[in-house]
Amino acid sequence: MLDVILIDNGVHGLRDYFVDGAAVRYRPARIGGQWPPDLAGADLVIAPNGTDHVALHAAREAVAAHLQGGGALACFCGFFTPWIPGNRWVHDTGRPLNELEYHAVDDRLGLLDGVDLERFAAGRHGIRGGWACGRIETDHAESVLLRDSHHRVIMVADTRSTPGLIVATASGPLGDAAPDQPLPADGGDLTRIYRNLLNVVRQRKESRQ
């Protein structure tokens, strides 16, 4: 069972996308409650899309300690304050998105297993660019998992900045509303990436035990 702390800033509908399942349990860390949160024992800390990067900057030492202990962090949001070790996010509106493509760079962890990148780029309705609201600047080029056709870093899987695992998107949302349901063979790419991430965190947990 994965123990996942979900950063919760009170945004309407947030918890609909992080639902307990047979292999995962979420512990919401509500901003406005005890803060910084106690991250002890957590396998993964999630900063979901639309989260509070002021509060996360205030919690950066707790997050760093979690990563130093080998824990995992996933941020699916534009982290405009400096709270993620080794990585920086910048908003970037200047590029046309209507022909955008994504390219895998180094997926040594298998986070993109089973993902059709062209289908993923086009989205369910043929609207491109949903994951390209900004770019990540990382201290470790080896961490780059996904670039877009403007050569911007869209996703990193960073095991260099800390002993833990940092997975960050350039604000692309991920989650799983029905964790015990199978995914369709011809879609569900966002959920597939998220489930791949949970599998990686599970493998890391098992290897440490």
């Binding site: 309407h12 901003i31 043929g126």
Partner: protein, 232 residues
């Protein structure tokens, strides 16, 4: 006294930050962190924006001061489920995110009153895009400004609290920050003019990269709420 006429209640969300720090808006909009509200002098401002993706439970603790601002003649525009602190009932509705691929000239929101200053000079496409919910119940003297295709209430306004309270289920600040919808300068510029009395530059929203990767400055007097996050 703030030199900026508008306070934007800020839940630490990047798209809210992106709009308020954009060169065309940064001299007009003051970001007020939702967990620093105890430190705010509302008399500093002419108008208040409460953007979508907010912490309305935290805001509700300051309900009396917000209504005091309205009673003094201020204008408040709220976007999102604010049932915690306004006298209205919200209901979720599915978000139509691909109307512009099917019917780009027929947005899923119908604007009824282009005489309201918020919508003055806007086209139907500039005034309406997707919405996240509807209002099932409104304050007694509210006037409906926008409806959904299904004829449910999307935006309303009332002056019964002194100033003007406008509530909508669209998400202009968040979507303008995200920049997936590229024509929201018109709406947000009009919103800023209506709330703050000053029209922003007509230029498109741009990004000042120096505003990124730096801490957000917290308010010095933000100590009244013992449950708030630690200072950055």
């Amino acid at each position: 006294m703030s030199r900026k006429p508008i306070a934007m209640i800020f839940n630490g969300v990047w798209s809210q930050y992106a709009v308020a720090t954009a060169p065309k808006y940064r001299d007009l909009i003051d970001l007020v962190y939702v967990h620093d509200l105890a430190a705010v002098d509302w008399s500093d401002y002419r108008g208040v924006i409460v953007p979508f993706q907010n912490d309305h439970a935290a805001l509700a603790a300051h309900r009396d001061r917000l209504y005091g601002f309205l009673a003094g003649g201020g204008r408040v525009a709220v976007f999102g489920d604010a049932h915690h602190w306004i006298d209205a009932e919200w209901a979720d509705r599915p978000v139509d995110n691909h109307w512009w691929t099917r019917q780009p000239d027929s947005p899923p929101v119908v604007t009824l009153d282009f005489d309201h200053p918020l919508f003055a000079g806007l086209t139907p496409r500039q005034a309406g895009w997707h919405h996240h919910g509807v209002y099932l119940r409104l304050p007694a003297r509210a006037r409906v400004l926008q409806r959904s295709r299904e004829d449910e209430v999307v935006c309303w306004t009332t002056t019964e609290y002194g100033g003007e309270l406008l509530a909508g289920t669209q998400d202009p600040i968040v979507e303008h920050g995200v920049q997936q919808i590229r024509h929201l300068d018109h709406f947000v510029d009009q919103l800023v003019l209506w709330l703050g009395g000053e029209r922003p530059s007509p230029a498109r929203l741009t990004v000042d990269e120096s505003a990124y990767g730096v801490p957000f400055p917290r308010r010095a007097r933000a100590t009244a709420d013992a449950r708030q996050p630690n200072r950055a």
